[in-house]
Amino acid sequence: MGNETVLVTGATGFVGSRLVERLVLGTDYRVKAMVRRFSGPGLARLARLPVEFVLADLMDLESLTRVAKSCDIIVHCAYGSSGNKTQRQETTVSGTENVLKAALQRDVRKVIHLSSSAVHGRDLKGPAVDESAPFTSDRDLYSASKIEAEKVLWRYQREHALPVVVFRPTLIYGPYGRMWTERIVKEVQAGAILVNGGSGAANLVYIDNLIDAILLAIEKDSGDGEAFILVDDERLTWQDVYTSYADMMGFHPPLQSMSVDEIEAMRKVGQPSVFNQWFVFPWYIGLEVAQYTLRPPEMRRKIKQIPLIRFISKLVPWQIKNQLKGESKSRGTAAANTPPPCHIQLPGKDIVELYTSRSRFSNEKVKRILGYTQRIPFDEAIDLTRSWLQYQRLIP
């Protein structure tokens, strides 16, 4: 099977890039990397390999059919990540249908589809959520369109006997990861807030562990017609995750714990969050005015006599208090040389919901049917991620 040709859609994305690298450098499969255009940093990364680039667009069936010629397997990693809501939804759902049509026209042996554990929603029930959990859209576009794409896929399998394998990875992290790697690093650098002390369940999967499972599905037919949740074995909390990233950095503002109620109260008083960036500018103008007013200590004492201010003051993190006082030194001796923290951002509602869930996903099925075992444990994965972050100059 090693001499077969694998077409990877979304080849310049996080999962697609690593899959192409692993296929080209570690197996005998021929690889066609599908891209929309000759640009972008993802392309520079892939061009280091002896890989064939093919130009096609998910919304253009003709182009897909052209590039699927002589392909034995399609791994469909692409989804709608740009454009307006309708365009993103269309690209994810109709794009998947186009991939399936092209696969049928070209007698492709198998289609492996990258879905997401988000199809099961965030309000999970039970200690170990498995693939039998119902589809639950959280009203967000990403999970809703992933659900619709899966429905199309299962219909094609039923109606056309097209072998498909679906992966539903949890939160993917590791080198080149944006959301669960770079974003967390930036959050920690700015002063991260741990929801409820970070006690929620962190259902993470390291990128190379996910790729191991995809390679197994390419190689073996035992997983055909199945959906697999992919999550690492370790039962991590968000505190474990944030602490691991924080440990990489040397100086950083301390991680702060806040309850959901505190976060909600903060949100009501107008602290800017990742999801309302438009508020940042007026916030800083307000901060300037407040700094000017509050700099004299006697003025601070007078204002603190107002009960409402006293209450709000308890909720305000120390970095913001320092900013209001016009002080720049961080707390503690170890952080004496740290630049003043700023841009502390409250976690958005989606993140709060995710970070407080205690449910865990199960990877029993992928182990049982595909014979998958996790090769890279969390500690090693974090070490490798640290090396990458240093190479990228994102941490010292």
Partner: protein, 353 residues
């Protein structure tokens, strides 16, 4: 064939890719003594579209059709065709401004230079980075001797690649694509020019080319200056944001200039850890890259009209081409743990050497 001074130089642009559309064509509008009469591209439909937008009268798919129609050409095709097209044009008596890298090998470049000499035509190279205020100032300051003896240098240029390519040549030609030939052409040229020397020796080059074209490279080299070797390193990337400055360390301090240009140069009297002194030419004003291309074109055209040489000549880029050629021959790889540690074949048969 040289145009008289009162006449406009008739010009064709060969190659209608990103650099033509984003840089040269907007720059043509800022230069007075030229008439852009032809645009040439194998994709004639695309060329016609661009010709319509920029009001260029003629559009052809074969550069040989412009031989008796123009005085000079700008060659902005993928690098592997630079030598063939330029030599053909030079042999027809046309002056050539060729985009960087001039050629993919010293041998090719030498053939181009020979053609230029034999036909008494101008062969200029588009080393646009030399034209920024900061590069000009750095060059002047280093040549003035303000650093004393030069001890070492350190250059970094890197960012996520986002140039709007029309074709995949940058990622498909192992000799003319990749970060070494692209950013490296500019950076090594800028370094050698700033140090005022075209004598250099490659010590080592490590890159991350695994059978395609490299996206990252770390070069160590020595540049001979005042009969003494000055060591240093050059780091280039298409995937990472690097410092994007050129630092030259001397016995009296360190000068630092942005590799992508700007109005200022920084001087560190002790080392780069201290607060720098900002140096700025009195005439320096913020200038767009298109305006720098206009200056380059204007200088080239003036040289044709006045039979002078106010451009970067092909000879001046030979050492840069040679160093890049040697780098391409290097077999040393940048091995990263996160990338390679678990690459041993998942199914047992090792493929990667």
């Amino acid at each position: 064939m040289i145009a008289r001074s009162e006449e406009k130089v008739r010009l064709a642009i060969i190659g209608c890719g990103a650099v033509a559309e984003e840089r040269y064509l907007p720059a043509f509008n800022l230069v007075s003594n030229l008439a852009l009469t032809h645009i040439v591209d194998l994709d004639v439909e695309r060329a016609q579209d661009v010709a319509n937008r920029f009001r260029i009268p003629n559009c052809v798919d074969d550069y040989r059709a412009v031989f008796d129609q123009v005085d000079a050409v700008v060659v902005a095709t993928p690098p592997k065709s630079h030598a063939r097209i330029s030599i053909d044009c030079l042999n027809q008596g046309l002056h050539v401004l060729c985009e960087k890298p001039l050629a993919t090998s010293v041998e090719e470049a030498q053939e181009m230079i020979n053609a230029s000499k034999q036909t008494h035509t101008h062969l200029a190279v588009g080393m646009i980075r030399r034209l920024s205020w900061s590069s000009q100032l750095l060059n002047r300051l280093v040549q003035s001797g303000m650093l004393g003896n030069i001890r070492r240098f350190d250059v970094e240029e890197g960012g996520e690649f986002n140039w709007p390519l029309r074709t995949g040549h940058m990622f498909q030609d192992s000799n003319s694509g990749g970060v070494l030939a692209d950013a490296g052409s500019h950076i090594i040229d800028l370094l050698l020019w700033s140090l005022g020397s075209q004598r250099a020796q490659l010590v080592s080059c490590r890159d991350d080319n695994w059978g395609g074209v490299e996206a990252n490279a770390i070069i160590e080299l020595t540049v001979e200056r005042c009969s003494r070797p000055v060591p240093g390193r050059v780091e280039l990337s298409f995937t990472r944001s690097l410092r994007n400055t050129l630092r030259i360390y001397g016995e009296k301090g360190c000068l630092e200039a942005p590799t992508r240009g700007g109005p200022e140069v920084f001087f560190y009297p002790d080392d780069e850890q201290t607060d720098p002194v900002v140096l700025r030419s009195l005439n320096a004003k913020p200038r767009k890259r298109v305006e720098e291309f206009a200056v380059q074109l204007s200088n080239f055209l003036d040289s044709i009209v006045n039979d002078s040489k106010d451009y970067v000549s092909a000879d001046e880029t030979l050492m840069t081409i040679s160093l890049i050629e040697q780098c391409h021959c290097s077999k040393e790889r940048l091995v990263q743990s996160w990338e390679m540690k678990h690459l041993e074949s998942f199914f047992g048969d090792e493929k990667n050497g």
